[in-house]
């Protein structure tokens, strides 16, 4: 059985910053691998100008070269170390540009879900997943997904 990573990240700002930095490092490595730059496209602050620590999202990146975005939502660990879902949405990043496709990953972070997320992001960046194949991809890794 696996274990959760940074389990207290919503109550401990140090853990929160560490996990956020780990997502950032993942993107730096991907940027080097596939030769792209990225930037955050969402406002990370609350109305008082303080950084939000709610994990919704914990990380976001827009990659201009491929006109794609990634948003990662991280929640507190529950029972399931395979608690991960993903879907493709659209986001209008600037008023003047057309909406871009956004891979959204919603997870409780464990070694297992982190590996799935990394594979998903890698495949998204190189164009190997779309709306249809994403479902197949997740069902391969998530056979126990509970119906409503």
């Amino acid at each position: 059985m696996g274990s959760f990573l940074y389990p207290d990240f919503l109550n401990d700002k140090r853990q929160y910053n560490l996990v956020q930095a780990s997502w950032n490092r993942l993107f730096i490595r991907l940027g080097e691998k596939y030769d792209f730059k990225y930037s955050s496209y969402l406002n990370p602050y609350d109305s008082s100008g303080r950084k939000e620590y709610d994990g919704n999202p914990i990380f976001n990146a827009f990659i201009p070269k491929i006109k794609k975005a990634v948003r990662i939502i991280q929640v507190s660990p529950g029972e399931n170390v395979n608690d991960i879902s993903a879907w493709i949405d659209e986001i209008e990043i600037t008023k003047s540009s057309s909406p871009v496709k956004e891979l959204v990953i919603d997870l409780a972070l464990s070694k297992e879900t982190k590996n799935v997320a990394i594979e998903l992001i890698d495949s998204w960046v190189i164009g190997q997943i779309n709306e249809h194949s994403l479902d197949l991809y997740l069902s391969k890794d998530q056979p126990e997904t509970t119906p409503a």
Partner: protein
Amino acid sequence: MSKRHRGRIQAQGDGLEESESWAQDEPLTKKEGLSILEKLKLKLKKSDYLLRKDQFEDAKRFIENIDGGIDAVKKKTFRNRKTKDARIDIEILGGTAFITVILIILIYYFF
């Protein structure tokens, strides 16, 4: 010309795609935001609403707890974790949203 303050609230996933949007010259107030959320709720079939009942509550709490409005670009997602992707999304795409009426009056008089 497009309006400065824009956004939408969506009920998505599990085969559903419904939304209510705003585009206006003044920042959206909390009251207007809650009203948009309510309009979206009323658009849904009962089964689609029930699948997102708790997420509507989460979205409502999110709007109610904002103190002083928030600026674009902002996107918050509230997913029913028993499903793959049934969710409520709040998107602030331009300007500011969910401010209190008092703040609008202050902005009007002092700026």
